[in-house]
Symmetry: C2
Subunit: 402 residues, 2 copies
C-alpha cells in the first residue's frame, strides 16, 4: 500500500443538513486511526477557510464532544456559498502545499465536487500527490451516480411529517392549503410530501415538481377537482416549478436574485402568497379558504427530527472517504449503492461524473397527470426515511338525526 504522510483538511460547503456533521465526525474519527495523517484541520466556512488560512485543529476535540456534534444539525465547521474562481483554486492548491496537506475531504453538493475536481487537476499537473475526496450531502438529492444523498432522508422525513400535520390540520379546518417546498431544479424533496399518506383521501392531494411544467390554470383546475371530491385540498409545490414556457412559476413576482444571479426562492413567501391569491381569484368556488406556508430552513436544520438510516449513512460516507484515501493515490466522490430492500454499500464515483450535474426525478416516479408521485417513488424513498409518527382518525360513525 502506498502510504503518504501529511496533514488532512476537511470542510463543509453549501446549505447545511441535519446529518452533515455525521459525515464530518465519521471522517475525523476514522482519520484519527491512521498515523500517516499527522494533522486534522477543519476549514472554517468552506473554501473561504482555505483562502483565509483559517483552519481549526480537530485533534483537540474529544470523542464524547464529537458524538454530540455528529447529532447536531447544520455545519459545525461553518459553510459558505462562495464559488471559487480558477485563480482561487490555484491559491487553494498552493496553501495545501504550504500546509503539507496530502488529504482533502470536502462535504457538499455538485458545486463542491467541481471544486474538488479542479483542485485535484491542479495538483496532478504539479506532480503533487493530493488525495481528494468529495463526500456527498444535499437535501436536494440531486447528485449523479449515488442512489441518494446523505441529508435527503432526514429532510424528506421533516417534509413528510410536515405534510402529515398539514393534512390533519386541513381535514380539521377545511379549505385549500398550499405548501412550498425547497428544490430549485429537482423535485425529490417535494415528492417526499407523499410519504406520510395513509388513507386515499389524505393530502397532499396534488404534488408539483420542477421536472413537470404546469400552467397556473391547470393547478386551479386540479385543485377545484380535488375540492369537489374531498371538500378540501393540500398541495405540495416545489419552489422550482416551471410553467410550460420554461419560466419559474413565481418568476414574475420575485425580484430578488442571489449572488449567482439566480432568482432567490427560499426564505421568501412570495411564491406561496402569489399562488394562494391566484387560486382564490380563479377557482370556480367562491370564498375559497386558501392558505399557504413556505417550508423554511427547518427542512435542512430542524434538530431532533432525523432519519436513522440517514444518520448511519452520513457517518459511513465520511468514514469510507478516509478509508478510500488510505488505499492509494486515488480520488473521487463516495457514492451509495443500493442493495435489495434495503441495504447500501459504498462505491467510488469519479469527481468529474458528480461535478456540476443534476439528477432529476425520473419519469417513472411522477404520475401521468404530472400532479403526483407513483408507487415506485414511494418504494424508493420509504426505506430512506424510515418510521413516521403514527396518526389516527376517528371511525366517524354518525349519530342518527332526531
Amino acid at each position: 500500500m502506498n502510504i503518504v504522510k501529511g496533514n488532512m483538511i476537511i470542510g463543509q460547503s453549501g446549505g447545511p443538513t441535519a446529518v452533515i456533521n455525521q459525515s464530518l465526525v465519521g471522517a475525523v474519527k476514522e482519520a484519527m486511526k491512521h498515523p500517516e495523517i499527522t494533522g486534522i484541520y477543519g476549514m472554517k466556512h468552506g473554501i473561504l477557510g482555505v483562502l483565509n488560512e483559517d483552519f481549526l485543529d480537530l485533534q483537540q476535540e474529544d470523542n464524547e464532544h464529537l458524538e454530540k456534534i455528529a447529532n447536531t444539525p447544520a455545519s459545525a465547521l461553518g459553510t459558505c456559498r462562495y464559488k471559487p474562481t480558477p485563480e482561487d483554486c490555484e491559491k487553494v492548491f498552493h496553501i495545501f502545499e504550504k500546509y503539507n496537506v496530502k488529504y482533502w475531504f470536502y462535504i457538499g453538493g455538485n458545486d463542491t465536487a467541481e471544486t474538488c475536481h479542479i483542485v485535484n487537476e491542479i495538483a496532478r499537473k504539479n506532480d503533487y500527490e493530493l488525495r481528494v475526496f468529495h463526500i456527498p450531502k444535499t437535501i436536494d438529492n440531486d447528485l449523479m451516480v449515488t442512489d441518494h444523498c446523505p441529508g435527503y432522508p432526514s429532510a424528506a422525513k421533516y417534509v413528510a411529517m410536515s405534510f402529515m400535520g398539514n393534512n390533519l390540520d386541513n381535514k380539521a379546518l377545511q379549505g385549500v392549503k398550499i405548501d412550498i417546498v425547497m428544490g430549485r431544479h429537482a423535485g425529490w424533496l417535494t415528492a417526499a410530501a407523499a410519504l406520510g399518506k395513509k388513507h386515499d383521501d389524505d393530502g397532499p392531494h396534488l404534488i408539483y415538481l420542477p421536472e413537470h411544467p404546469v400552467a397556473l390554470e391547470q393547478i386551479v383546475n386540479d385543485i377545484d377537482e380535488c375540492y369537489d371530491k374531498y371538500g378540501r385540498c393540500v398541495v405540495a409545490v416545489s419552489e422550482g416549478v416551471k410553467t410550460p414556457d420554461g419560466k419559474l412559476l413565481g418568476e414574475g413576482f420575485i425580484k430578488e436574485k442571489d449572488k449567482h444571479g439566480n432568482v432567490q426562492l427560499s426564505g421568501t413567501g412570495a411564491l406561496g402568497d402569489m399562488l394562494s391569491a391566484y387560486v382564490r381569484d380563479n377557482s370556480k368556488h367562491n370564498d375559497l379558504r386558501v392558505r399557504s406556508d413556505t417550508l423554511g430552513y427547518a427542512q435542512r436544520s430542524f434538530p431532533g427530527v432525523y432519519s436513522e438510516v440517514d444518520r448511519q449513512e452520513a457517518r459511513m460516507v465520511g468514514e469510507e472517504a478516509v478509508k478510500y484515501a488510505m488505499q492509494g493515490d486515488i480520488d473521487g466522490s463516495v457514492a451509495l449503492k443500493r442493495i435489495g430492500d434495503y441495504a447500501v454499500e459504498p462505491d467510488l464515483a469519479k469527481l468529474k461524473d458528480v461535478a456540476q450535474q443534476t439528477k432529476l426525478v425520473p419519469k417513472e416516479f411522477i404520475n401521468e397527470a404530472g400532479n403526483g408521485v407513483t408507487q415506485a417513488f414511494i418504494d424508493y424513498a420509504s426505506p430512506l426515511v424510515g418510521d413516521l409518527p403514527v396518526v389516527e382518525r376517528l371511525k366517524e360513525v354518525p349519530v342518527p338525526k332526531n
Copy 2:
C-alpha cells in the same frame, strides 16, 4: 350528589393544536366510566356540527384507537372558526334539548368560552340543567386565570427547536435571519424562541413581541448592533408586533383580511419578506445577507414533536372537566394552577372570566429594551416545554498560520 342522566356532547373549536385530541380522549374515556352519561356525541367541526345536527357516536370508538387519536395532532372531530350569533346560540340550546344533552364540553380558546357562557345562560333562563365546561386549548397561551394553556407547551417546543436549528444554520452560514412566529395579540409563542439558547452568542439575539411596540428603525439599529458584535443575527418577530403608532408592523403591506375583519397574518410570508427587504435596504452594512421564514401551521400540528408535560396536562383537563360535571350543577372553565417547580393541579374558573379576554405577556417577562425575554420567562416556560434536543459546537481551536 346530584345525578343527571342524559347525553354528553363534546367539540373542538378554533385552530388545532398538537395535543387537543388528548383533551378529547381524556373527556371521552372519563365519560365512559359514568353510567349517567348515556350517549357520547362528538360535534363535527365545532358549533357548526350542532347547528347542522352533525354528530359522531364516540361510543363506537375502541380504547386502542382512542389512544392513537390522543397522540395525533389537529382536531379529530374537525373544528371551525365560525363565531355563532345570538340566534345561533338559541338554536344550539334547542338542539341540545331535542337530543337530551345534559353535559356539554367544548375545547377551545376564549371565543369558545364565550360561546359556552352564552349557551349556559340561555339554559339557565330556561330552567334546563345543562352542565357546560370549557376545556382550555390554544397555542397562543392567552387565556385568563389558568397558569398556561394546553397546546402552548408543545407549540413552544416546536418554536424553540425551530430557533435552535435556525441559530445553528445562521452560525454556519452567517447573515441575518428573521423568523415570523404566530401570535396576533400575545407574544407567548414568540418568547419561546429563546428556550433553546445555551451560549451567550446563541440566537435568537432579538425577540419582538406584540406587547412592546417597536419602530422599524429600532429593529434595524438592534440588528446592526448585534451584527457588529457577532457577525450574524437571528431575530424572532411575532406576527402581531406593532409600531409605536399602534399599527401592525406589516399592516401597510398585507391587504388580506379574514372573515372577522382582522388582517390575515398567518399563512403569508409578506411580513417576513417586507421586514427582510427593509433591513437589507436600511442597514449600515452593505450587501447584508438577510433571509426570513414564516413559521407555519407546523407550529400547531407538526406530528412527533410534543411536550410530554403538555400531553399529560391536556389529557388531565379533559378528564377533570367530566369529573367536575359529575359533582353537581356547576359549570366553568378548567384551569391549571402551578404548584412549585413543577406540578399543576386542576382548578375551576368561571366561564365569563375566561370569555373574550386575552392574557398578555407581563412586563417582568420582557427585557427593558423590549427586544428580548427575561430569566423569569425562561423559568416560567422551561418546565412546560421539557427537554430539548442536545446540540453541540466545536471547541474551535485555531491552527497557527504558516
